[in-house]
Point group: C2
Chain length 270, copies 2
DNA sequence: CAGTGGTCTAGACCACTGA
DNA sequence: CAGTGGTCTAGACCACTGA
């Protein structure tokens, strides 16, 4: 095979970009049959695995629908799902070139009332960690973070200095995240939240409630070295009985933002 | 090769699920080196392309980081990006088993003021279509939809009966979507919105502003038949001069929801 | 230099669809 | 039955990394 010029795109990528561009130009209307793998093989003079990869990736991106025995169709895109990135607030503020600081109003152990215990998968009355922190952007209150933490996942949580590390950052470090759910709604702040954020009681706020769960608390393991030699072979295969996606609840956070100061942004583009 | 039993998972899928399960059990901490392709080839007795596919897909899902010449690492997951699905409101309400209806308060042509013209990529004063519709869930006002449409993308927009079709649905049909951007914020409704939604002026509302753009208006083309024979070959290859992602603005919508009645949900799980 | 991932090929067998 | 996509293989060449 002739080696391709240094910076040239890989063949699978050329096929993919070509189809993407043609889809963008509406060469095929939604639902319309697109060229088969065999046709693309002929057109681009590449192997079938190569066009297959291009088409498979377009399918993963939701741009085409493929049906075995039938063909490849331009996707309908009736359901637009877009990506909403949830970043650590500290990073987000610094990325904007602003200054971030936090005031810690409370960190303590409490006994979990019924609903909270259920959500964290703990017995009623079990100890939970509770923190209440206000985050500032250039000195202006931007977020009131009211958080409960499963002590099993982060036993040292109460000892952390949250004026230097955000709970989000700390928890991602000690308790690798596996699943997150959130709801976003508009509502009025509680009296306490209004006071902490310095806004009137009636100020509409954007409230994000986020629950995360993850792997079981880390057992005592050799060393979390950053790139240790991968001596991980010989594992018994199908041994994992863990249902994928069902992790241990780590934390529940209620994040309240003054509507006039905070906005979520997202985009969708294939 | 021995054929695999009927319903057995494909080998690449077995490798992938195995690694996913082990990652879920924190077998490798974030940043830690995982087995190489060669090791997995030996462990699973499959070809390298097969484990390569498994690893490539895990990388696409953000579960591992791969570095050429170095290895594969468990991902940090510091940035959690989750999927927020934007559905047609009609579908969404029906999916909940509720009844949807819409009241059309306005559909007309207007001259675009400066800011709107810019956003739709039109000259100032150019005609635009404007609709104002309230959507009800079981008879309760759920969304006030204030929308401007680029006439070039949907010339028949004003003739559509929006008590039977939602603008979202109609537009997705006539103007295939290519890109969408949105912002989500909490704010108070305007006086008109409060009246239409039947809520007090001070009610916090969830406001989604969505801009979509897409392919150029469809030229006169044969027939949009649902699965026409794909006689689409012989296209001049790299001919597409269109910058991918930059489409023609189709529509801008301001969607206002009473905070007490509407909530966005999302989840992230690898 | 050995080890890693990035990618491609030419062929194969299969399940599925629709005529 | 021909055509389609789903998947696998055994080998290959390459660029890159770090010792």
């Amino acid at each position: 095979m002739p080696a391709r010029p240094a910076a040239a795109a890989a063949p699978y990528s050329r096929v993919k970009q070509f189809l993407k561009a043609e889809l963008g130009r509406s060469r095929w209307r939604p639902g319309e049959l697109m060229p088969s793998e065999a046709e693309l093989v002929a057109q681009f003079a590449v192997s079938r695995m190569t066009v297959n990869r291009a088409l498979r990736e377009l399918q993963a991106e939701g741009l085409v629908d493929r049906v075995q025995g039938v063909g490849t169709f331009a996707a309908q895109l009736y359901r637009v799902s877009s990506t909403l990135t949830i970043r650590d607030l500290h990073e987000e503020i610094e990325a904007r070139g602003h200054r971030h600081h936090a005031e810690v109003h409370l960190t303590r152990e409490e006994k979990a009332p019924r609903e909270l215990a259920q959500q964290l998968g703990l017995p009623v009355g079990a100890p939970v960690f509770h923190s209440l922190i206000v985050h500032y952007d250039n000195g202006v209150p931007l977020q009131c973070e009211d958080r409960y933490v499963n002590p099993a996942c982060a036993p040292d949580y109460l000892g952390v200095d949250f004026t230097h590390t955000t709970p989000t950052h700390y928890l991602l470090e000690v308790a690798p995240l596996w699943e997150a759910q959130y709801t976003i709604e508009a509502s009025a702040p509680t009296e306490q939240e209004a006071r902490l954020l310095g806004v009137p009681r009636g100020e509409p706020c954007l409230v994000v409630v986020r629950r995360t769960s993850g792997a079981a608390p880390q057992p005592s393991r050799p060393r979390p070295a950053e790139r240790e030699s991968g001596r991980a072979r010989g594992a018994s295969l199908g041994a994992s009985g863990a249902q994928p996606g069902r992790g241990v609840p780590i934390t529940i956070a209620r994040l309240v933002h003054p509507g006039s100061r905070y906005q979520l942004e997202g985009r969708f583009s294939p």
